[in-house]
Symmetry: C2
Subunit: 331 residues, 2 copies
């Protein structure tokens, strides 16, 4: 295992220290690295908190800041954070309007966020949006139902923008559920990543193979196939997404082509070009395109495609100012 | 070779098509993909043009837009663009105030930008800033003198900001030379990338080795050593940089920790933390930190460290609004 780390035990804490130093204008570390929060809170705004296993950076810490999250609770690599992290975060960033948890659908995260919400029950108003955008498989290694993957970025951004406008906890919960319902993703992996504590690849894959429908922890997808050209991949991935969303001709969408951490930018744009051909064939138009490695599996090579139907209200929210480590515009 | 491409011959053109589609609000492709340019030019502003071999994305196309470049000429992977590309770009984006070429110091790029400037001589005022920030080695596989690497980002940004203010070609050339002189970089690689046309790794490296001082095309650096902990690497890299810049205690600097394309974000922040310890030991403070994979070698694992001395004027320029595919704030 070759990694730019000092030790398996310190990789998370040292990474958080580097992150907080690099983005000291936006974030601060809290309570012995239990969570990362915005440096400056907005009184009366609903607090958005997410979290999950580390190794998917910039998700979620890189999405803390104006127009997105208020806090994120990082677990160890691919390991759920604990309820006390979420409770500590909620206690610190709830300025009176309540807390919205945004949770990717994995059994450990679901259980721990649920426990935290229960224990916070008397003192804080809470609601939870569960993101389950991966259309590859129903149920998986770590889930009941669909996995929550790169579509989480869209949910956190659009709900985060609405939260800045002062919308209520109930309205934000409804918006988050609606965006989740409008979002579908599917992925392909060319290589496995290595979890530091494991020291060896999560899965073995041949030099001429790819895993269609892979999860963001390297969980198995639909099938293992021979490598294909870039144009052949979206035919299956985007095809499944378009069917899931029942998209009609003329629909405008957000498109996220997300690298898993080991994929060159050049290849991600080849995939954008390939996906656009499939969308054009279906009469669907990407009116906002985001390309980059935003929801990663450390150094895994491969990418995911996420499509979200874009109505005028969602586009307006998307375009409002945002200031986070990983996404920034308008301020 | 596993890559998300259709063919070696089409990877550049398809990547450019995807890039232009994703960022149609900022850029447009010109003249049969000869170059990428800003959609909207500012009359009377000096035009900044860069370029070089592809495979380093988002450099340079991702840096086109307000506050940075006006055009970029992409060569094939790790291959210089041709003089006709630069001449076509200059002819189209020079709005009367002249053209500043920003060139990384590689023999092919130097020759072709020089030829283009000569041939443009009568019709366009031109000047050239040569970036040579890599302190690892004097002369290299493709260079006479030091290589131009990730510090190019800082030069393009700071000079780009000054160009938006309407500064003259001579002043921008002087500023670019000054920023280059204030900037030093050094890198480490854990793995090689695969150039698509070659189909096999550029260099072989053992499972427990790293290349200290590697170039952005996988050129040899200073020496091949056994893998070390993250804290041991900046001691050598940042140490060499600090000596090169003769930094005094109390100096404020820009810090860029740049991934080569295959390095997890988590590890880059571990490196930020490690570099900050070396800087703190030298009494030097990073007042702006940029972390990410900005000047890449496709899927190479490893990172570079760039330090640039920051005076008040440069900080003010850095913080002005920028709107490119890869860097965006304030607008």
């Amino acid at each position: 295992m070759k990694k730019l780390i000092n030790s398996v035990d310190s990789v998370l804490s040292e990474s958080l220290l580097g992150f907080a130093a690099a983005h000291a204008d936006i974030v601060t570390l809290a309570r012995g690295l239990q969570f990362v929060r915005r440096r400056t809170l907005t009184p009366g705004k609903v607090a958005l908190i997410s979290g999950g296993g580390s190794g998917h950076e910039p998700l979620h810490t890189g999405f803390i800041g104006h127009g997105m999250l208020d806090a994120a609770c990082p677990g160890q690599v691919f390991t759920s954070p604990t309820p006390d992290q979420m409770m500590a975060a909620a206690g610190e960033v709830d300025t009176g309007a309540g807390v919205l948890f945004i949770v990717k659908n994995y059994s450990g995260d679901m259980m721990n966020f649920h426990l935290a919400a229960e224990m916070l029950g008397r003192e804080h108003a809470t609601a939870t949006v569960v993101v389950n955008d991966d259309v590859a498989v129903e149920n998986s290694t770590y889930t009941t139902g669909r996995r929550g993957v790169a579509g989480t970025l869209l949910v956190e951004r659009i709900v985060g923008a609405a939260a800045e406008r002062g919308e209520s906890l109930a309205d934000l919960k409804a918006l988050g559920d609606a965006v989740t319902k409008s979002t579908a993703s599917m992925a392909v992996a060319l290589t496995s990543c290595i979890v530091p504590a494991a020291g060896s690849p999560t899965f073995e894959i041949g030099a001429d193979e790819m895993e269609i429908g892979v999860g963001i922890h390297g969980e198995p997808g639909r099938r293992r196939v021979k490598m294909a050209g870039a144009d052949d991949i979206p035919a299956e991935l985007a095809g499944a997404i378009l069917r899931d969303l029942s998209l009609q001709r003329g629909q405008e969408v957000f498109l996220l082509v997300n690298g898993f951490g080991g994929t060159p930018v050049m290849e991600l744009y080849v995939m954008v070009n390939a996906v656009n051909k499939v969308l054009a064939g279906a009469g669907v138009k990407a009116v906002r395109t985001l390309t980059g490695s935003y929801v990663t599996s450390m150094e895994m090579a491969g990418c995911s495609i996420t499509v979200c139907t874009a109505d005028a209200a969602m586009l307006e929210l998307w375009d409002t100012p945002i200031h986070t480590a990983a996404l920034r515009w308008g301020m």
